[in-house]
């Protein structure tokens, strides 16, 4: 087990280094000159040259790379032209919002996807199964930004039940972040009304973000449950008189959860990337919105920072999934 964990962590470390290389390469294929961009449109030639020297852009590539890596190790991502702050500072401010959004969305996906998958599998080819299937296929096809606009129209503009966008009302005094996750922080502070307000603001974007995830968890869980329920060991469990509920919820589900877990890892990355769209629609102050507004402005450093953070996050998620695999599957543990 220990070697399994160490191997996984080692692989993740290797990937992280690869990711750093990838962002460096992307940064260097950029036709735009970062020095010219930073200097602004009115800067003279000598000014740009000075900046080039200051950024080390006149050095050979391998020296630039070493400098890039040493900067990253010190969490130095460069400076955002638009906000004027260090990208690291911006990321620290925006990332918790994105994380909160994704966590809530994933929770919705799991809470509804897994049970619905079980129910569909138990009623295979029945009416429930058909309904969930249509639901599942449309979930993957639904453009998140469009679905978000539709929900805004319905629940915010027409029904007026939920706020349109943002993370909190502009009139609400924001609290000093503890974890950065508003739902958690408001509970820690014992502020119930703030919690409810935060929940009402996160509801729509989290729903939009969770929808494709929910759909895919449902589908995978359903087909894996169908498969597991037909397995020989289930026939044996039934023959030995194990209770039906125990067979479904423990004997079959445990086997079905292994592939479902793999999907959850993949979907986490997908979710992180969909935040770009969902945060744009809902003006959610997270890394997605930050990346989009920076990319449109041609502000390159923040985009790279977000790429790194999202990639790192995806890696950690996959590492957690790998470790959970080890917990769930005894064959892996002893291998």
């Amino acid at each position: 087990m220990l070697t399994y964990i160490l191997r996984r962590i080692g692989l993740a470390g290797l990937m992280l280094f690869g990711l750093v290389c990838l962002t460096f390469v992307i940064a260097n294929i950029a036709p735009s000159d970062p020095a010219a961009l930073a200097a602004g449109p009115d800067a003279g030639r000598s000014q740009i040259e000075n900046l080039r020297r200051e950024y080390g852009l006149d050095r050979p590539l391998h020296e630039q790379f070493v400098r890039y890596v040493t900067d990253l190790v010190q969490l130095e991502f460069g400076r955002s032209v638009a906000t004027g702050r260090a990208v690291g500072t911006d990321l620290a401010r925006y990332f918790p919002a994105t994380l909160e959004l994704c966590l809530v969305a994933m929770a919705i996906g799991l809470l509804f996807g897994v049970p619905l998958g079980i129910v569909s599998a138990l009623h295979k080819d029945g009416p429930i199964d058909h309904v969930t299937r249509i639901f599942a296929v449309s979930g993957v096809a639904l453009p998140p930004f469009w679905f978000g606009l539709l929900l805004q129209l319905a629940f915010a503009a027409w029904l007026g039940w939920l706020p349109t966008s943002g993370r909190l009302s502009v009139f609400t005094e924001p609290m000093e972040p503890i974890t950065g996750l508003l739902l958690v922080d408001s509970l820690l502070a014992g502020n119930g009304s703030l919690f409810l307000e935060a929940a009402s603001y996160i509801a729509l974007p989290a729903l939009v973000l969770s929808f494709p995830c929910l759909a895919q968890i449902l589908r995978v869980n359903r087909s894996e449950m169908v498969e597991a329920l037909r397995a020989d060991y289930i026939v044996a469990a039934r023959a030995h008189g194990v209770r039906q509920r125990r067979i479904v919820v423990v004997h079959a589900l445990k086997n079905a959860m292994l592939p479902t877990l793999a999907i959850i890892g993949l979907r986490w990355g997908w979710m992180m990337s969909s935040t770009v769209l969902v945060e744009t629609v809902f003006d959610w102050p997270g890394t997605g919105l930050y990346a989009v507004s920076s990319a449109i402005a041609g502000d390159f450093k923040p985009v790279m920072g977000v790429t790194l953070i999202v990639g790192l996050n995806f890696m950690i998620a996959n590492l957690i999934v790998d470790l959970l695999y080890g917990v769930l599957d005894p064959r892996l543990r002893s291998a």
Partner: protein
Amino acid sequence: MTAPLLEIRDYRLAFDTFDGTLHVLDGIDMAVAPGETLGIVGETGCGKSVLARSILRLNPMPPARVVSGEIRFRGADVLALPPADIRRLRGAAVAMVFQDPATYLNPLLTVATQMEDAIRGQDAAKGGPVRRRAAARDVAAELLAAVGLPEPRRLLASYPHQLSGGMRQRVLIAMALVGDPSLLVADEPTTALDVTVQAQVLALIASLVRERGLTLILISHDLGVVSASCARVAVMYAGTVVEEAPTGPLLERPLHPYSQGLIAAVPDLDRPEVRPKGIPGSIPSLLDPPSGCRFHPRCERATERCMVEKPLLRELLPGRRVACHHATAGDSPQ
């Protein structure tokens, strides 16, 4: 003969598939008395496993569909029992041992969890108090010891993949004993095992039958396995029982042409000069089984009658029943 423990009458089972309906079992008649040991032999695909699973209603429906017949256990029709009663039957009255212990044990649960679940599930089915996990675990350990497994406590904590094939099969047998059943149905219990382990497992089953007074139905494609463990044998072909007889007389003097072929196909180690003979032709399609006697396309003695009229099991000699129009009491092998 006393009242049979298990009685199957005119049981027909079909599977609905894309290609059409498979007539897997076609009019099975069979009776097993308490304490009896019955072997069922036949080639792969003759429907013996499906028949075994029918006793506990373990075939998935759909695609399986009961066409006709009844399966009576202690007089009650298993096919008509409400689900709650079926659950009381499973494990507690009728227990099964399966073919490949590697696939019939849940890979993600410890032996302890699987045995405890069986013990507690049967408690619940009886409607009485459900034993606590610790108590169930004690019972499980005793059962593992009873099937000759050393260090049962350590075994309980292990996962199936950590055990050898023979150990896994012993674990499955121990699980079958959980409810102190009266009928044990063993479906090819030795097929997936090494030859040396096969003998041990068969010996174990035989001793359990003796000590616990179990009634045994042993299913195998291997005549040798069946003849070593069972007093009586039923031979199945393409979803029908073609012959039923006490083991000794059947081996000496099979009456049905298919049984004769089956026995002639077994090499005789005492007479190596006699080459084993195969049966010409191949197993018929169950989608569109031959009319009349299902064996007639491969039978040397087939006549027009065999193509039209399905032969029923009839008692030719005391205790010997054959489903063949041409078999006579004076038939001798070869």
